[in-house]
Amino acid sequence: MFEFGVKDIAAIVKIDFDIEQGPVLKEVKKLDENFNVNIEDLFVNIYLWFMGGSLDKPKPRFIAFDEFSIAAFIKEMEVTCVFIKGNDGLEKSMSHIREIVEKIERGEPITEEKKVTKSITRRRRRRRRRR
């Protein structure tokens, strides 16, 4: 769906949890000076996004925004967030997902997966013939 490399990492943020205050910003490491997301303003929300509710409920590991994405690595109560620049493929993937949803809403069959399987099978047959 998305492809990211080291060059795409904009910042690494560690958020810990204090038993009285709640989330506390432990460490911010900016790797891209042009990255201008205000972490101070956002870290409580970020903690809520990744850890919200009771701890035994499912939690997201990756959240994509228009301008950036966040991958989260959770260790007990501490969340390490990796901010990734850009959103290569997000718009394309989203419009593709929207098309599928619209098909489902209209009650049309979703045949895309079958097509992919067929094309793979055809390629395999061709290869076998060549051999």
Partner: protein
């Protein structure tokens, strides 16, 4: 049949989540695991569906409270019945009084612990109806149901 919103507030670690688990019939948590932001439980109560909102007591989450408390029929302030906690809870209560429109009661939880203040003493300090509870004891579930039933009746919600 209507939905009733009941919100639980209080300082961290006083037993809000444990009370909700008690009401929903889930086993009590064996260790303290803080609620982040808020959590939600549901029970059926007569003809009503009761949404139980568990609001995290940590300072940084309290800015969320006014929004989450909106539409609550009943707000339950939970204390762990220690003198320090009850006094700190009184400050929370003063903040709650600024937001009008719901009835507030208190639970003096952890009555089994040594040094726990009696519910009537807690009530004198908080000046809201206060009920004693031991939320980690599953047998207290009936008691908690009775508390809700009594309060719903006061709020003129018909419970059959």
């Amino acid at each position: 049949m209507g939905t009733v919103k009941v919100s639980f507030v209080g300082l961290p670690g006083v037993g809000k989540t444990t009370i909700i688990k008690l009401l929903t019939g889930a086993p009590p948590p064996l260790e303290y695991r803080p609620t982040i932001g808020f959590d939600l439980g549901k029970i059926s109560f007569g003809e009503h569906e009761v949404s139980l909102f568990d609001l995290a007591g940590h300072e940084r989450f309290r800015t969320l409270w006014p929004q989450i408390l909106k539409g609550s029929t009943l707000v339950i302030l939970v204390t762990d019945s220690t003198p320090v906690n009850v006094l700190q809870s009184k400050k929370i209560l003063e903040e709650l009084k600024k937001i009008d429109g719901y009835r507030v009661i208190a639970i003096a939880n952890k009555q089994d612990l040594p040094g726990a203040m009696k519910p009537n003493r807690v009530q004198d300090l908080l000046e809201v109806p206060t009920y004693g509870l031991v939320a980690i004891d599953p047998r207290e579930r009936v008691k908690m149901y009775h508390i809700l039933m009594k309060e719903f009746k006061k709020l003129a919600l018909e419970v059959k």
